[in-house]
């Protein structure tokens, strides 16, 4: 800022000394009274006057100042600054105003508002400079403090704002959380509702299943309290419908028949299933089962018993059925055979003892046919009963070690002795070496052998039937080969099945040849003795070859 320099207005060089002295002393007093630092320099900046305030502010005494320049405390600004200042006050002869940083004698920096003006005499020549400085350090520091304070406040404000934001965020978060929780809660609630529904459905299904059981049902906890029963329980025990059950109640009903408490306690103690198959109860037969109910308390933990399931079944009908099944075979065979035996026996007696009275050949034939029919019927009954027995494993095999060659030889001599109507060459091909004994039921082996040889005789009109025995591995294989009619390929796979004859269809069955159970029975028999039976080969018009095997007696070192 440029302000016109100070002119010595009103001063005149021709002032009286007294007046000048008066003026000077008063001016000096006035200047010293000022709080502003005032110095006067010559044109070169050498200090010629300094007031008290200048001493106070700079820390230098007047004696130190005089003869020096204000650089004593100045020099804190850039060189360019001072050059600019000098140009203003000296060249331009204008006043300089500005803020300067000075350095006190003690090194302390301070800031001032300075006004430096050139002193120009009336003739316009530069006489010197007057510098007035007003220390503003306090103001500045106050301002700085204020600024700092403001800054602090701003920071605090910002902090507060942040805090507020954080609070807001927190609140928002809380809100979100609340929403999430709400939605989770509602989804959990919904899940619970769904799960509950599912559980209820499961429960309904289970209850319906339990109710539909044909057996009495009681679920007990480990203390023996009955948690669930079905209606059937009451009816099985012949108790009034809808009875509510306790273990004691069950025990009372079953008293004298079955110790249900003991069974329950054993089931809980051993965690094992207990089964009581035949409990006579009044006029019924009951079956009681206890199943431990185990549950895994936590994943990874072992199972603990949480109760027992008691199932009470009425097996009276089943037992009667089983028993009658057992008895059926005996009774059926007996009841069917007896009249058949009478037919067979009496026709036989007629033919044997009344031959001379049976003159008519047709009559003889008719009696013979009745006789033969009865035999066929007896065989059918036997086949059927045997199949039933074999399928239910009711046939006991009396296995022993025996000479199968001997058995075969004897049986074949039976054929040659009694002979057949057909002129067939039935022969045994004697093995080269002695055969080890086999381990099987000789009567059953004979049955199988008779069946196979019988089939060969049945289906061979001319030629031969030869029997070969050979040890193979740990078995003796008996092969029966004939020159019969052979079996069509399409029927070969059906041979050992029930009711299969090698005929083409149901309606072309050769019923005179038997029931079609022969090979099936033979298969069941031979397999019951751990042997095998199979078709070796068959060719239509050329003959068939069947074989069966029987295990060699394991005690024989063969």
């Amino acid at each position: 800022m440029k302000i016109p320099g100070i002119r010595f207005l009103g001063f005149s060089t021709d002032m009286s000394d007294q007046a000048r002295h008066f003026d000077q002393s008063f001016f000096k007093l006035a200047c010293d009274a000022s709080l502003n630092h005032i110095i006067i320099t010559d044109t070169e900046g050498i200090i010629t006057y300094a007031n008290d305030a200048a001493e106070r502010n700079t820390g230098f005494t007047r004696a130190e100042m005089f003869g020096n320049t204000p650089r004593l405390w100045g020099k804190q600004m850039s060189q360019g600054f001072y050059q600019g200042m000098w140009k203003t006050i000296k060249t331009d002869k204008a006043s300089f105003s500005g803020q300067l940083t000075n350095k006190r004698k003690n090194g302390e920096l301070y800031i001032v508002n300075a006004r430096i003006s050139p002193l120009i005499s009336d003739d316009g020549t530069l006489q010197g400079f007057v510098g007035i400085e007003n220390e503003i350090s306090d103001l500045i520091s106050a301002r700085i403090k204020a600024e700092e304070r403001a800054q602090q406040v701003a920071i605090q404000n910002a902090d507060l704002t942040d805090a507020k934001k954080a609070m807001m965020n927190l609140l928002e978060d809380a809100e979100t959380l609340k929403h999430e929780l709400m939605s989770q809660k509602s989804s959990v609630e919904q899940q619970i509702v769904e799960r509950t529904k599912e559980l209820q459905e499961e429960r309904s299904k289970l209850l319906a299943s339990i109710e539909a059981l044909t057996k009495g049902y009681a679920m007990l906890d480990t203390e023996g309290a009955i948690v669930l029963t079905n209606r059937r329980l009451s009816s099985v025990l012949r108790a009034p419908e809808g009875s509510s059950w306790t273990l004691d109640g069950l025990a009372t009903y079953l008293h004298g028949y079955f110790d249900i408490k003991d069974a329950f306690q054993r089931c809980i103690a051993t965690q094992q299933m207990l089964r009581f198959d035949e409990i006579p109860y009044k006029d019924r037969i009951l079956q009681v089962r206890f199943n431990p109910v185990l549950a895994q308390a936590n994943p990874g933990s072992g199972q603990t018993i949480i109760g027992a399931l008691c199932i009470v079944g009425d097996v009276t009908e089943e037992r009667i059925l089983e028993r009658s099944k057992d008895e059926f075979f005996s009774i059926a065979s007996h009841e069917l055979r007896t009249p058949l035996t009478a037919i067979r026996g009496n026709t036989s007696l007629m033919l044997e003892y009344y031959r001379e009275k049976l003159q008519d050949p047709d009559l003889i034939e008719m009696v013979s046919d009745v006789h033969d029919s009865s035999i066929r019927l007896i065989n059918i009954v036997n086949d059927f009963l045997n199949v039933g027995r074999l399928e239910q494993h009711r046939i006991e095999f009396k296995n022993s070690a025996f000479d199968i060659l001997d058995l075969v030889r004897k049986q074949l001599s039976e054929y040659t002795r009694t002979g057949t109507q057909k002129n067939l060459d039935i022969r045994l091909i004697e093995p080269n070496t002695a055969l080890p004994r086999v381990f099987a039921d000789p009567d059953r082996v004979r049955e199988v052998f008779i069946n196979l040889v019988g089939n060969s005789i049945k289906y061979t009109d001319q030629g031969s039937i030869s029997v070969v025995l050979a040890p193979v591995d740990r078995e003796i294989v008996v092969t029966i080969e004939d020159t019969g009619r052979g079996i069509p390929l399409s029927n070969q796979s059906l041979l050992f099945h029930k009711f299969q004859q090698a005929g083409d269809s149901l309606f072309t069955r050769d019923t005179t040849k038997g029931t079609g159970l022969g090979l099936y029975i033979s298969k069941l028999l031979i397999e019951g003795m751990h042997g095998r039976i199979w078709l070796v080969r068959s060719e239509q018009g050329k003959g068939s070859s069947f074989a069966f095997s029987v295990p060699i007696d394991p005690t024989q070192p063969y």
């Binding site: 065979s333 035996t341 026996g345 007696l349």
Partner: protein, 132 residues
Amino acid sequence: MSTVLLIVEDDPLMSRMYQKIFKFEKYNVDVAQDGLEGLEKARAAKPTVILLDIMMPKMNGLQVLDKLKADPETKNIPVIMLTNLAGDKDAETALMKGAVKYIIKSEHEPKEVVNMVKEIVTAHTRNEIPET
């Protein structure tokens, strides 16, 4: 002395048929219609041989067999089981209880049954010769 044969058989069809054949074969035939009667007749008449059915009213054949074998008076009379019970177990039980043979009726012509009885009687009386 002709052979006295006791047929213990409840079914008249069977009874009549076996009576006929054994009469044809010159046997002295006595019949009983149930187990109890059979036991009584066996004790009273001491037949040479007994043909004993199993399934019978009052006392079944196996019970009769037990009583016959338990009685010193009758225990030496050969008993042949003549039945249509074809179970192996029945045959085994009867033979264990002392029957000399187990014949399944339907498996044999009446003539064959006669032949089997004949063989047994012959064997039995031959055995008895040294004793008398």
